[in-house]
Subunit: 450 residues, 4 copies
């Protein structure tokens, strides 16, 4: 392997979460300066969440830089205190430093604008795209080659979780990784939600490399508990927020409507413009270079224009989206969901096409689970190291984590136009609206009107 | 005046700076929900500053909400402790509350994308635009009318500084106003620059209404000193940062090039698309509704597309801008500036058209000044109230402020392509570059090569 | 009731947790200025915990002021939004404000130096003492009488939980009260332990008075979860810390030794000095005025002097205490505790009197429980208010709280001299020490040596 | 020199300012565990300042640990980036690490209780005492000897500023040293005064060793400006606070009264007890071991007892001190001070002995100065390094610092009993008090009554 080129003087980026991002290697500096990485400045981290948490304007550039910084701190710490002495001792191999740093920095480089929505509609996958950017004809790939002909492949395999060293893989992607640690703190800072905070310094100091991955010294157990509780809270309070989801559904329906208008021939390519056109082209797989042109701005500028569309559904949805008029929602569950057609019917009576103005949406997260070999995606469980070196799975020692383990957080909702809740004096649909509201109690759908 | 409609239960927005923005009045809630105010979500507060401080992604929606929140706190405090008892006693009239809150919220509603650049190129003025939005055919205007037929006019006159009550005007716009207090704290939080912090709670508690405006109790003098020092530091370190300015110049040259291409007939309207077209139409004054369609996304999406332009200058500048390759710079001064043609000549020899690839740029700020009746724009000086009620201008009491008073911060720079500093092994222009570099010492232009 | 005398201008105390403590009433200001309240400046909040968290030097003056400030915020909020309209409507009666504020301020006024240790050894009770200070011949009592002849009694009954209005009682003392909210945040700030933080502003805004006490709006449920998790973590990581407990045991054994020396006649009253003498006098109940003379300084100065005692046990323990040489400890449990005599025997062989140099100590806390009518001290459960106004007990809605509910945190330990773990080259007792260490594994007592 | 013994695993102390204090060397750990260093837990950092900033309860143990931590960060940074390559290159010699760390840790080990007051009354000097503790028969001395027979002497010479390497001396003691950087941040955190904050990380990264000491890279100039402004503000607002000074004077007068009572034979040694006795013994120089027994507790416990003294002046002053009834004050100046006898006369008429109940007190600080070879104590000026390596004194580049340079902050006050300002209805001395108040305007002494 090529000898790493250290910068004569480290460079720093000012970061509100980690104070400074320390850049000590030419390779990392060059990666940051690629156009593919710079594009992350134009992709917001939380998509439309800033419609409810107006402070949350941060982008993926900051998050990826932060994940890198955490990887740097952990590997520095391992290099100093847990460097391998002889093969097979299960300690940390300092030669893994650069692949770890590069993978941390690039782990989200394939994220597109409004990721979830985009992937759903255009059948893409940001992890696959990250692989393609690392391996394809890109500036990122060129820079990675500086380190050796096989280096891009190594970085890609870390992200694909096929890299042979489980320590490196788990630092980048596991239930306690630099990705999650950064985004929880960052999202908490930008939303202003104090519940996302935990004791990062403590966790970093308590990580321990071992043969099969990364464990946590018992002295860090409570800090990891806090981290998992922070994660649980952020999901319930921020990521699942009904207002964001009401905005996301508007976005999805806008793009779906455009698709339909194109498919039906009612509109032609000029509706979407040259940058968006490839995404809307039927049966076309987006190339890396087409994909990389798409950022938040391209979509938002298009929606801005669609406010003038002759298609009243498209223009109306676009105006709602930019004017921040999210669809409203109520909770549903397995028992009540089968009766939703009754609500959809009322919405239709009020003049709204349910295909565009209603939706059922499930928000789901499993905050923590132990290793389940038969699961579809078995999780790497969090191992705690006892003073004598033996290990125990976290939930065996923690009451709190035992309570969370394997229990999914789930929020199922039905979305509909805010007009349905209207009851002003001059309401044309007052009877229909009253009918609709008779199905709602405590923000939940009650088909029996109880 | 109409009786104000209070919300049955106050609503809050979570804000990372002020914890919560408290909304207690239907009027304020309705203003926030207008499409003109929601548009501020799509205009970044610091324009391209996040090219150097990557955390600084915040938008004008957050800032305007924050300025409102500060106005709310101050007026609540005045209502409780400094309400007028009889006419002419110089205290605070609680009836001014709503006009103050509305003006604080709306003070930046006319800001456009990349304000400074935009105004310079398209000859607009964001303060005039704010007036037009408040007085024109807008949702904002409609909402303001709820409060009375003359209310929009009152709010507009506060922003124009022609409102008769100087207390209200100074809270919104003076050397110590809710606008500056919010943006300093907010910009500090988002950039991660700790030097922008000061003791907000102390200042708010020490403000005192008096006949001619707002003064500060002597107990708050040191907090005001810190505020002015914070402002001074933010200008020098954040707002004047050469990298942001190197990006801003790229942006300005891109738009200027587009203008030229349209004027020369080399390109037609399709280059800019329907939303941008009115701005580029010669001799056309932008209407309010045209103006309000322009946000950051529209410009950034256009620049994204211009990367494919056949015009090599336009496509090159656009790629530099999105790839974050700012023009580099050196300091100049009155003595050295007249010799800049020598540098421009060298830049030209290296193959760059100086009109697009060089610029002279002055960053200027006057952190504080006392009232100078003969000045072009006389400033409202900061008055300190002594225990016996008499007043003194701040710099009479503060050594620190006396040092800053009337002394402008100025940073004059010459910008040029980063290639001019290149000296790699395979440099075609190595002699030209060496020539260029011979004019630079300690980041300054030294025409005599000393 | 007497009309409350408001201060012309509120006074503030700068507070690192709440920014400012706002004092708006003459009564509160006068209470703070009593000598009994000022004495709280000389009683540390966390006793010897600063032996492990060196930052935790804060005193009960700060905590009591903070609890008052929270009570002020809550009652201000209730006064504004939840004031009673007609009798029996279950809302907040603004006339309860002053009794609430006074009780919050004074709730810990009876705390003595090193409370737990002191109460255990001298058979006192800080809550009873708080009552006596409020009702007895004190400056506090005099000030309270300003408000009416029955006012001291009302304040005392709030603290005794016999006050008829359960809203007031629960604000001062329940599972979600101003006492706990302040001390968790304050202890977290001073120790530097980030896990003690939670979203105070959110909780304050979500409290709702109802007929039987104080409930929490559903919108605050997650904030309350965080608060309970913070409490759980602070107990396990700070309040239960083995090093503090090792110091506390030293302190207790020192005072116990002094008692013994006095009882045996080996030492006379001069050993303790005039201020401490009443506490050590056999069969003497401390008067309020005797009690109020005792503060941390009196004990620590005495221990300083006892370092010179002729009694080698007293001087040795005193030196260990001031030199911060805590007893070390290992975990025990119900199974292993009966075998502790084997360890005590080894400690004795190493030359240490087990009565003074060993101890068994249980740290116990029940983080949350619902109302159990048959419990010895039934707890007021936390009620959550649903949108339709109905209530549910917190753990019915929260997975996290359900996991904690009714489950005690318990840490049982055996303490012994640090010398027992010594194994240096010139160790006279090396065999004894080796014997001792053979009983320890993973910081736990293993009588079978496994 | 002995090879340094590194700890197998670093130990940490949780610190609210620096998150963690990292201890990597056995020597440092052993120093912290000495009884002389542990004594610093019983000496408050800001003396009686917590009488006005109740949060400021922190002790010198925390500050000394923090100064050490900063020294550790700076030396680690220098070791990595600025280690000397050849003799005389002016860079940092890594062998200076341990002497720097030990000196930083021990720099205040000789501080006594209520330092300033104590030194004034008992004619001691904390810097001399620090030397004696390092060089004398102490545990600290023993531990330092581990490093080599000459090591204690080296550490002592750093503190005496006679150590040959100016880099080491300036890190410990200069106008920009680890002592000041820690105490400003720490005092700001504990008081809650936000104006004491500055950008520590930035400064640490911008320090540069050079031949004659430590300079600052130009990139850190603004951070140093903020640091100096923070220092200026902390002096004016915290350290000079009239309430603290009013308490300090009470303390000084108490101790002075005790001295007098002993000298006059009205009281014997039992008034002060065995630990304080040596300090009050006439013509006796305190030995190190006598000195080290004195801490805050010994004084405060004694004052507690003196409340019962038969001497009414002593008991009254002691009660005022513990009940926090500071002397009040007004500003004086060179013109008005000569007329103070007129005020003292009135105080006497009101029944107070002016020797005990009045005082003149000057608070003085010079925030920054450049090197003045002829000054009594010439200061090491702050040097800024330009890109070409040349240096400039800070105030040549900074307007702000130029304004502060060489200009002392001075607050001269006259202190008197609070009763002099009383004007209640049943005031026996109402005429005398009115007379007194006629001399005061805007908190200043106006002998002419203007």
């Amino acid at each position: 392997m090529k000898v790493l080129e250290k910068l004569a003087q480290e460079k720093v980026l000012r970061d509100p979460i980690h104070d400074f991002i320390h850049i000590q290697d030419k390779l990392i500096l060059d990666l940051i300066n690629t156009k593919e990485f710079q594009r992350l400045r134009r992709v917001q981290q939380l998509g439309v969440s800033n419609s409810i948490f107006h402070g949350a304007t941060h982008d993926r550039f900051g998050h990826c830089s932060g994940a890198y910084e955490l990887a740097r701190r952990v590997t520095d710490y391992f290099d100093e205190y847990y460097a391998t002495k002889e093969e097979g001792d299960g300690l940390w191999n300092p030669e893994e430093r650069m692949v770890t740093l590069a993978a941390a920095l690039l782990h989200d480089v394939g994220h597109g604008a409004f990721s979830h929505t985009f992937e759903h509609l255009f059948d893409t996958d940001h992890e696959a795209m990250t692989q393609q950017i690392i391996m394809g004809d890109t500036e990122v790939h060129e820079v990675l080659l500086q380190e050796g002909p096989d280096f891009p492949n190594k970085v890609a395999s870390v992200i694909a979780k096929t890299y042979p060293n489980p320590q490196v893989v788990q630092l980048i992607s596991s239930q306690l990784d630099v990705d999650r640690m950064d985004y929880l703190l960052r999202d908490a800072y930008y939303t202003g939600a104090s519940y996302g905070e935990f004791d990062l310094s403590r966790i970093v100091r308590m990580l321990r490399p071992y043969k099969n991955g990364i464990a946590v010294n018992i002295g860090g157990m409570h800090a990891v508990e806090s981290y998992l509780v922070a994660r649980y809270q952020m999901y319930l309070q921020v990521y699942f927020h009904p207002v964001s989801r009401g905005m996301e559904i508007l976005l999805e329906h806008i793009l779906y409507r455009v698709k339909e208008l194109l498919a039906s021939g009612k509109e032609d390519k000029s509706l979407v413009g040259p940058l968006l056109a490839p995404a809307f082209q039927p049966d076309h797989d987006l190339t890396v270079s087409e994909y990389l042109r798409l950022d938040d701005n391209v979509f938002l500028a298009a929606i801005n224009g669609w406010q003038d569309s002759d298609d009243t559904i498209l223009s109306d949805l676009s105006r709602r989206f930019l004017g921040r008029k999210p669809l409203k929602s109520i909770q549903i569950n397995e028992q009540t969901a089968p009766h939703l057609d009754r609500l959809e019917k009322v919405v239709k009576e009020a003049g709204f096409d349910p295909r565009y103005y209603t939706a059922r949406n499930d928000a789901y997260d499993l905050p923590y689970d132990d290793y389940k070999p038969t699961a579809k995606k078995p999780r790497t469980q969090i191992e705690i190291v006892l003073p004598d070196g033996s290990q125990r799975e976290l939930s065996e020692l923690s009451t709190l984590v035992a309570a969370i383990k394997g229990r999914a957080s789930l929020d199922q909702r039905f979305f509909f136009p805010r007009e349905m809740l209207y009851n002003g004096p001059d309401d044309l649909f007052s009877e229909v609206h009253a009918d609709f509201k008779s199905f709602i109690k405590n923000d939940s759908f009650t088909p029996d009107g109880q």
